[in-house]
Symmetry: C3
Subunit: 386 residues, 3 copies
């Protein structure tokens, strides 16, 4: 009996910290991954990584509160590593939407967006996952598609005709593209942890790791191949590599813990990589010019379409019986609900953010850190290197 | 019986590597976190990350030796992951002090400082933790306050009147500030591992993770808000964001494993974020002009004051009975001892470092890698980008 | 009985994910470590980190297939975390060889190299580890020496007389050297995971972690000291620090899980650090001028000589009985086999890569991203900072 209780105690101790590495991986994706991915803009790196930290630090507290206020014990929320992972997840939606409006919003506007978006996310997620019992372990629908279309709806409301012909700061320089690659590579490496973090322990969790790994590997190759095909002289474009290589992680999210086999995961990854790259090349300019949606980071290509693809793949996998107890009809409802909440929520949030009170930067100061940060004069910089 | 021994064997195998992830997190903080945090200077990045690696690689061997030479078995030290974590901790004191004298010392001076500071750290830590039985799980007092005031004492002795009016290289450029943010974000993310690494497994360890997480989240918001309040036109200052967002990790260290509840942790974090930012804005210039303490990285604001705050919070928490067996009186002794050893040890170490033999750079070569590193001529750099 | 099966189930769940942290560490070394280590070239950062990602994403699929196609169950490969680690390992050989030909090859050439090199690696590894039963836990011989000499053989075949006097882009700028340090520090920190990843769980694994840790710490000091000794005025050279600090991880690989004690590990590390630094300073220029081997990253110094040193140390340790069941003769065969396969395989692969069809860049476009990537014009960059 003594030995038995000893073993149980040891198991308890091991279990209490066994989720920490997964939590840290997700944490790295949120703060380093998203933060540095957005540093590609030549004069907007401070805001990308700095405001990313601000929004995530705020959002995880708000998300933790909202997700658990309904399940209190003696008036207290019991915090656990798993809940901290879920809080990180809720901030991911905001950071995705941040990408759509990057460079064109003030910190105050973004804090308001954080407050509203996480609230709406929690409602939709509760509906989809708890009530409709939809399977979305890697959150293709509830995080990625939701975050992307929420952000695009906000971007539509905040449309700036003055930026129709672009902005001189809306582009990268050599080293800013390298900083962005730090974000890309971390997201790429740790995505298996993201998609498996809340999977059922054991085989389903392991399957989520492995499916995501295969989807990403196949997606990366597809993104390189497609980038080379659509660019002049077969060159590669950094924008595609920084983003489309990750679309496989988004798209395999819903199916990650299902029995889709490596072949299924890779098919999803390849499709996502192609769609995403083609989207950056051809669709983003059309969205901007025809629909008035100026999507700075191209979240439609990285999170939007691949998120929908993930939802569709989940419907198909459910129809093929790849996971017990999952029905294609409910999966479809989950996708529709996520898109509906995102678009309506984003429009309302955008209207609130448009109130001329939150310090939105004028057109000429867009994509420029110096409006919100103390930045040393540029000529000092040149002096420094001369 | 067979099954039982099988289980025990498996538990042993799992236990033997279960601390590795925590060790790696601490390792990342030491080498990436501290190393890149200090790359903010425009011409001192090689030294920041390179000398950081040198001092830490040297310090962890010295620390491991000193901490264990008293506990040998058959003339041998038994190395374990836990001891490697403690060795990393001992180097942290040196890297904190390094921040105070960054740019104004030679590698040889710094190696001497490493040798002496880790020795004094081990004496103080043994006294405080082993003899006085003081609780300081995240080492607010024994590492952060100690390292900061040790470094400030050294900086006082090495005071340079010639740098009274600043130095043209004592500042950042755009991309050097982004490199520094790599350090900041890693420190911010992994601080829960730092504060919980040597906590008692089980609930206390988990509590240390969660308290630190809350303290940091609250601290980050406080730092952003305060930075915006104290700067002109409500702008943010990169120096504050890079440093003050981390003060919550320092300040909650002593109490991290105590039953202070998220509210207590957040109160500590907010206080630390405010104090730290205000310190950077108003106190650092005064320290330099009135007291002759030129604190390059502002370690007084990130580690000094928040470390003392952590010690005081520990005294209060002990008085409120937040941890069994901890007495406010002994906690106060631990803080006093750490400050005393730091100041006296730092003064003596500074005097030894001042001996004109260790290659201390002249004023005009301060904050410039090219005195200790082969650096390609600057005009070559401009040629490269033209 | 219920409790027993509960415990077993829990142990199974814990075991199924317990290798994930080690896998992630190795993954970080492959994608961040190797990727950023090679960004030191001033105009070749996109290719370094981007082509590194391409080759690794392709290579891990190819490696996983090749290593497991012989062990199928019902026509299927059973994927596990351990196999994913081995797949990462097989890509490491390619990324090492990539360093030797960095800047002088097209992506298509490199994909061909990946295909062939991993195939040859699998044959040699099967022969050495499975058939000859050679002990090479950290793969000093089968990965590092193999990858280095394979790459050097390819570089010999692809010799470019036009680059005899160097190339204006074959050098670093200030910030490119800092990006490279990200790679260096990650490799340095996580090497203990690399060398212990496939060690036997329990004591041997822990020993591999600790031996590697000591070897690296000692190696770093040796590299700094030697760099300072061989450079003018005692200055440090970034090339040495970026590379030679890691040679201890390479060299201790074969012996990592053997009972060599910290003293043995440190002796290996110091030797490796000295050899590697001296190699960069004196041997690399001779290889280029006398033997026609233009080794861009100096892989001969980081992986080649330290890999051989590791093999020799393994022979010695086997002779001294530091691991049961390991014979010095077979160890020597393992080293010879790895070198033989590398040189012959590399020569053949180089000849195939030389076929004038794979888009090999002309001399004047070497070391320049703009031949394979859309790069904004340089003057735009200067405009951006002016």
């Amino acid at each position: 009996a003594d030995t038995a209780s000893d073993v149980e105690k040891q198991l308890f101790l091991i279990n209490s910290v066994s989720m920490c590495p997964v939590f840290q991986d997700v944490h790295v994706m949120i703060f380093i991954g998203f933060g540095f991915l957005m540093t590609f803009l030549k004069r907007y790196g401070f805001s990308s990584v700095g405001i990313n930290l601000l929004l995530a630090a705020f959002g995880l507290q708000w998300g933790l509160l909202l997700q658990n206020i309904w399940h209190m014990h003696d008036g207290k929320i019991r915090v656990s590593i798993e809940k901290m992972i879920n809080a990180d997840f809720s901030t991911a939606t905001v950071l995705i939407s941040f990408g759509a409006v990057l460079g064109k919003t003030s910190p105050v506007q973004l804090l308001i967006m954080t407050l509203l978006e996480i609230t709406i996310f929690c409602i939709n997620e509760h509906l989809v996952v708890e009530i409709l019992n939809v399977s979305d372990v890697g959150a293709s629908m509830t995080i990625h598609a939701f975050g992307a279309y929420f952000g695009l709806a906000v971007a539509r409301v905040l449309y700036r005709p003055g930026l129709r012909n672009g902005h001189e700061n809306e582009g990268s320089v050599y080293h800013s593209d390298l900083f962005a690659m730090i974000g890309t590579v971390y997201l790429w490496m740790f995505w298996p942890s993201f998609n498996s973090a809340i999977a059922e322990p054991g085989d389903p969790q392991l399957r989520a790791v492995i499916n995501t790994y295969f989807s990403l590997a196949a997606c990366a190759l597809a993104a390189y191949a497609t980038s080379s095909l659509v660019e002049k002289k077969g060159k590669l474009d950094m924008v595609h590599i920084q983003n489309a290589t990750l679309a496989g992680g988004v798209a395999v999210g819903t199916c990650a813990d299902m029995d889709i086999q490596p072949f299924g995961a890779m098919a999803i990854g390849i499709t996502a990589g192609v769609i995403s790259t083609v989207g950056f090349k051809f669709l983003t300019p059309i969205l901007a010019s025809k629909l008035g949606i100026q999507d700075t980071c191209g979240v439609h290509n990285l999170h939007g379409m691949p998120g929908i693809l993930g939802g569709l793949a989940g419907i198909l996998a459910a129809a093929l019986g790849k996971k017990d107890g999952v029905s294609p009809g409910y999966q479809a409802c989950g996708l529709a609900s996520s898109l509906g909440f995102a678009l309506v929520g984003g429009l309302i949030t955008g209207l609130i953010m448009k109130i001329p009170f939150w310090g939105q930067p004028p057109d000429q100061n867009c994509f420029d850190d110096s409006i919100f940060w103390e930045v040393r004069q540029n000529n000092e910089y040149v002096n420094a290197i001369l």
